[in-house]
Every structure is written in C-alpha cells, then in structure tokens.
Symmetry: C2
Subunit: 460 residues, 2 copies
C-alpha cells in the first residue's frame, strides 16, 4: 500500500518519532486511512521513510495503545473502527428521478441490456493483447491510424460517406466533435450557426460556449426549412438529414439539393449529424448528405446509439482544409482519444461483430416500434406516431388537448418517463405538440404495460 506521511528531518521538539505518530493520527482522524485498512509492514514503512524498523514498531505500539490501530498476530496492523466522523462528509448524490422511473421511454437510449458485452470484451481484449508498446504512448490526436482506416471503410460501405482516413477525426462522441468543430469554426471567423428547431438537446449551449450565435430554423415533414436560411450572415447549418430529431422526418431529395446549393452560394458549412443513420426499418437506405458534397459537408457520427453512450467514441469526416484545423484543436481539448478503446472498435468492425450487432439491434428496434404502435391502438391511447419508422425514438402527436408538459408530468408521477417536445424547442412561441417516446431501452411487454397505464391517465 502506498501511503503519504509527511515526515521532515528531525529538529528539536520534532523528532521523527513524534512526527510519524502525529502524521498517522491525523491520517486516521481525517479518514485518509479508512477503518479496517491494513498498514504497511513495519519493515516496509521503515525502508520507505528511511527510519529504523524499531522506530516504526514503537509508533505502531503507541497508536495501538491509543486505540487508533489494532494489532493482531498474523494479520498485521490495521486501522481500528473508532467512531470518528471523517472531516468531509459527502452527501449521497440525489438520485430521486432515477428511482422513480419504472417504464423507461426516454428518447435517445439504445437497448442498454442489449449491449454486445461478449463482442466488446473480446474486441477489447484482442486489442490490448495486440497493442504495441508504442500504442500506449500519447495517442495520435486525429485518432489511431488503424481505427481511421477501418472506420473509413465502414462509413463508405454502410452510410455512403466519402471517407478518407486522412480527413477522419476520432473524438469522444458527438459532443466532443461538435465542441471541437465549434471552436474551430469560431477561430476561422464564423459567428452564426443555424440549428434545427425542434432538435437534439445540448447543441445550442455547446455552440454558444464557443462564442457562436445560434439561429433556430423550423423543420417540416421534409426536414429543415432551407428557404428560411438567410442568404447572408450564417456560417453553418447543423442538421439531421437521415432522421430528424425528434420529428422523424427524412430530408427529402429536393431539400438535400437545396441545402447544398445554399451552402455553395453562401460559402457555408453543412454539419450532418448522422446520429442514428444505421437504424432505418423500412428497407430504403438513404445515404448521407456528405457523400454528395464532401467539400461542403462535415459528417458526424458516434457509437452512442450503435453500441452504448458510455463508450464515448465518435467520428467526424471533414473537408481537408477544415480537418487540418480541427486536429490541433482536438489536441488542445484532450490530446487524443484512449488508444485501446479505439483499437477495440477497429477490431469489432474488422471481425464483423459490429455489423452483426447492428443488424440484431435494428430488428429489435423494429419490433419495439411495432409494439408501441400496437399498444397505442389496443389501449386507445390518444397518440399518433409521426415520421419515418427508424431509430430508437419517435414523435407522438397528441390527439387530445392536454399540454405535452402536463402529460409528461402525469406519466412521470406514475413511473413512466418520456419527454415533452418542449424540451427540444428553442423558439418559445412554437406551438407545442406531442411527446417524444423512446423504445430503445424497454421490452415490448413493458411498452404495452406503460401505454395501457398511460391511456387511463389521458382519458381522466
């Protein structure tokens, strides 16, 4: 056991023995040495401190006599469990909200119990075993070359991304990607970024922290309303073409043309958040926007929905010139992402387990969405699902006139958690309409239970 004991050279009135006694007493009193903790053997501590073993034995004996320590033959010396309060008493963090949820219909979560633990453990272990010593150094700030190569292949194959490993940046999830991008755009002189309204949470504060102004732009059933993007003064637009959050709109072909044309006219950047692009259920693949205009579009994705949010790995493919400015900012943000985790993801993709897991997850989400639709019909809940069937959540329009905040609060009170659309609206004048229901992290049976209970609430 490593132990810090502040012992100074002996001086009159402070011989080493007194110092060591007082240091040990302090450590026990303040809780730095916890009750039951075993102390180092006297020989070891003496060697560490450069004092005689006899001195340490005497100190241990003294503190045992005082009740600070307990000494038993054969099991060494331990800290006694005196009823002394530690100096800092840390209150338990509040978890009331978590405890209250019995039916978890919150949007944005994959099936946490479906996390491919076996695949991921195998991949991580293989990565650790195969890692060279040089892989344990400070990582390449752009990302491990092997993951960039493998991921570029995957993104091209599955999402139609024009992904050159030399323009791919590995980051800690979408959040860090946007954080680094925002600071980089700001340093290039950008001032205003348009974002979808309603849209994913936390985008606006990340952009604002980087000194950017946020311009909310409404969406309709074809995606973001490109004709509401000003022709001047907007430097970038952040959009979710594959599956708008939370409306579920797939950006229509004409809208895709329009946003690229707008970006070309204005010299603006299109930031494509492909947050659940893998999970389209109706068999019509829609490629990403970036493949159409790799010199105009920044593509962002992550493993948060495909694997789990706790993995904290994401990626960003950018035009070469912008990429060259992103890498130094990623370096200043955290020096690079953890190497073994990166190599594990590369392995997972290479052996085909990532594809296998996504296919299984897609089938699960398809069934969950069907279960939700069936439950709404069966229990006559006054809700109608909106948008293309895809992803891990859906907007549900309300067929009665309950305010979505009220419906959400009532449901929460009986243990059902989902979100009011107001949580995702930036424009305070927007006409709130509907709730956002996740079906990623709940079983079909529990979905049915929750909707049955919900139906009784909404009719009250």
């Amino acid at each position: 056991m490593e132990l810090f004991l502040p012992i100074e050279p002996p001086r009159p009135g402070r011989p080493r023995r007194v110092q060591l006694e007082s240091a040990l007493r302090d450590a026990v009193r303040t809780g730095r040495l916890a009750a039951g903790q075993r102390l180092p053997a006297s020989r070891v501590l003496a060697e560490d401190l450069g004092v005689s073993r006899r001195l340490v034995v005497e100190v241990y004996t003294q503190l045992t006599a005082e009740g600070y320590l307990i000494s038993r033959t054969g099991s060494g010396t331990r800290v006694s469990d005196l009823p002394l309060p530690p100096v800092t008493t840390a209150p338990a963090p509040p978890r009331t909200f978590e405890r209250a949820v019995r039916w978890d219909l919150r949007p944005g979560l994959p099936t946490l119990s479906g996390f491919p633990r076996r695949f991921w453990k195998r991949a991580w272990t293989a990565a650790m075993d195969a890692a060279a010593d040089s892989d344990l150094e400070y990582p390449d700030p752009a990302g491990h070359p092997r993951l960039r190569r493998v991921l570029a292949g995957y993104l091209g194959r599955v999402r139609g991304v024009d992904a050159d490993p030399q323009r791919l940046l590995i980051c800690a999830g979408f959040t860090q990607g946007l954080h680094v991008l925002a600071h980089t755009l700001r340093a290039r002189g950008a001032r205003t970024v348009a974002i979808e309204d309603p849209g994913l949470p936390h985008r606006a504060p990340i952009l604002r922290q980087a000194g950017l102004t946020v311009l909310p732009v409404p969406v309709d059933a074809d995606g973001v309303l490109v004709d509401q993007l000003p022709e001047r003064g907007v430097d970038a637009v952040l959009t979710t073409p594959a599956h708008q959050f939370p409306t579920g709109a797939i950006m229509a072909p004409a809208r895709r043309e329009a946003v690229l044309a707008w970006a070309g006219r204005c010299g603006a950047v299109v930031v494509e958040d492909d947050y659940d692009g893998e999970f389209r259920f109706d068999r019509r693949a829609v490629g990403c926007l970036q493949g159409r205009a790799p010199d105009r579009v920044v593509y962002l994705g992550s493993a948060s929905k495909t694997l789990a949010p706790a993995v904290r790995l994401g990626w960003m493919v950018s035009p070469a010139e912008l990429h060259a400015e992103l890498v130094p900012n990623k370096f200043l943000a955290d020096h690079g992402s953890p190497a073994i985790d990166q190599l594990a993801l590369a392995h997972l993709i290479e052996v085909g387990d990532y594809d296998r897991h996504i296919r299984a997850a897609r089938n699960r989400y398809r069934s969950a969405r069907q279960a939700l639709e069936q439950a709404i019909a069966r229990h006559n809940a006054p809700l109608r699902l909106v948008g293309t069937p895809a992803g891990v959540q859906t907007l549900a329009a309300q067929l009665d006139d309950t305010h979505p905040d009220q419906l959400t609060a009532r449901a929460r009170a009986v243990g059902i958690a989902f979100d009011s659309i107001t949580r995702y609206q930036l424009n305070p004048d927007a006409n709130p309409h509907g709730v956002v229901i996740g079906y990623g992290n709940i079983s079909p049976h529990a979905i049915d239970e929750a909707i049955a209970l919900l139906a009784t609430l909404t009719f009250r």
Copy 2:
C-alpha cells in the same frame, strides 16, 4: 455485412435492377467495397432492399460477368481484385522521426513496456463484468461516482490531497482538465494566468485558446519565483510543486507558504499540476500543496505517468464553488469520460494493483536514474544531472559550451532522442542551458550505450 446501396423506387429508365447494378459497380470502383470482401447472400440482400431474390441473383451474375465480382460455389460472391485504383489514395502518415530513434531518452514517458497489461486487463474485464446496464448510459459528467470515491481515498492516502468525491472531476488526462479549467476561469472573468518558465509544453496554447493571457514566471532551485508574481492582474498560477518540470526543483516550504499567501492576498487560484508526484526516490514524501489550502488550490493529476498516456484518465480536485462551474463545462466538452475505463481504474486501485504497480515502477525509475548517473561518470560525458531525484526525466546541465539545440540535433542524427531545454522555454531571452533527458522508457543497458555514444559526439 451491412452495406449501403442507394436504391430508389423504380421509375421509367431506372428500374431497380439497373439501380442495383450501378450502385454495386460504384461501390467496387470507389473502393467502398474492398477487393476480397464477401457480399451478402442474395436472400439477405433481397430482404434488406425489399426486392426479389431472383433480381439480386441476376445482378450478381451480371457483375460477375463484367469482372467486378467473383462467384465460387460454396464460398459465395466476393469482390474481385481488379487493378482499379480507389478514388481517394491516402498517403501513409509520415513516421520518419519515429523511425530514426534508436535510443528513446525523450522526457515525459513512463516505461511503456512496463505497462501493467495483466493488471489492467483483469481490472477492465472485472469492470465490464460487474457494470450495471445503467453504467452503459451517458456517464455522469463529473465522473463515475465509484471512481470518484475510490480515487478520493487514494489521493488522500498517497498524496495528502483533501479530496472529497463531491469536488473531484474525472477528465481525459491533464490536458482536458486544464482545457475545461481554462474555459471556466475565463467565463468567471479571469484574464491572465502565470505559468512556470521553463515548464511543461502545451500549457500556453491551451490557456490562450480559452482567451487567457499567459505570463511566464521564472523558476529557481526552490521552485517558481513567487516574488515575481504581480500583486494585481494575475488570476491564477499554474505550478508543479512536487517536481518542477524540467528543472527537478521541489518547491521549498517557504515558497509554498509564499504562493498560498500571494493567492490569498490577490484572490487568485493556485493550479497544482502533480504530474509525477508518485515518483520520488529519496524517501522523503512531500505532500501536495492542495492539502494545505483546499479552498485556494486546484489539484490536477493523471494516469499518464503512473499507467500510460494512452489511458487518457485524469482528475481534478477543486474548491466546491469552482467545481460546480467545472462540471457543466466538462459536460459541454465531451459529456463525460468513458465509463468502463473509469470503473477499471477504480477496480485497479481497490484491489491494490495500482499501488503494487507504482511501487515497482518507482524502483525501476530509481535504477534507471542511477544508470544514467553512472553512465555519465563512466563515459565522461560533459553533463551534470540537476534537481531532486524523482520522476521519469531530469534536466542535465551541460559542462561544455555546445548550444543545447546543437547537442540535441547531433544526438538525433545518430539515433538518440532527447530534448533541448529551449523546447520548454517561453522567454526568448532566457539563457538556454542544458538538455532534458527521460529515463522512463529505456533500459539501463541502452542508457549506457546512448551516453557512451553521446560522449564521443560532445567531445568532437
């Protein structure tokens, strides 16, 4: 295998068959489908695309006839290895510098070959096995509560940190800690941060990126020159009290009092970078500054030297009020650190393997430093080691009049890598003196070889 193929509803002139053929040809031509890649079985692809199996079989047959695909009974259909250049040819990243190094005496690296692979694998696997599904969600931005609890105990015990888990923030190494701290201080109104000169690299650009002005302050054998800190207009000082980088000075007791008194008078923050506090060889433990004044000092540490830089885990203990502002900024930076890695570190500390590894590493570094001293004496190299024996590198004063840049360049030319002190100096008028030699990532035998060769160069 997941595969994105842009197939739209059939229209005149673009039946599905033509679309599928052209999509597959494009995928092979652009390299999205790599040579040798196995295609999905016709039944599976047909189901995915919502077309008949017969159509897929016909398309595969057509493309096999054209030479894009190869079909062999029993082994399915694969992409042929036509000599088609991929659209984007990524040049290999330049690695010339790495290749040239035969003796790695760069500072700041622990023994990479001594990384406790077995301990870390056991800890990571145990963490993955024990993780609850809820641990796979978006992580607590302050850090996993379990790691915060375990680490607070460790830091109190080993480094004398006044570490309450409620004031502890887990971050991606020191770099992210400073990044988040710098943005938080700037948002509070801070303008200027004093840093040690010479000092660790990358500090100044991180602070400047957050909009802060950097004030270099010289150091002497007792640490940073506190009397050169202005009484007004400096909001924080960043210092390395345990072992100044690169001079090796331990901050003297009087200097410790002085810097805390200065901070108290000026309302400034002391930022303590305890970057190698665990590796003191001479048996006199020196506690951290933060334990003396937890309301004035921000304590930063990381696993980059104790385990390996690739792990990317660090920690920051702050006064409560500042901590409350740091957490939202960590959230905006990356949403929180990877949960399983955090739980693995907690496990490593809890079972005692972290302590065991540090003890072994300390003994190794002590021997390596002795080997360096002995080699310098044996080969009459005109160098003298400066500073307290600790850590994984040392400043070596030059006894001849070679400019340190020249010595470093000459050594590099024969395969020996270390740094000139000029790399760590901010003041261009500083009188350069010496080189910074790391002994963490090289064997005692190789140290002797390198110094023998170096001695012949310096006498030339």
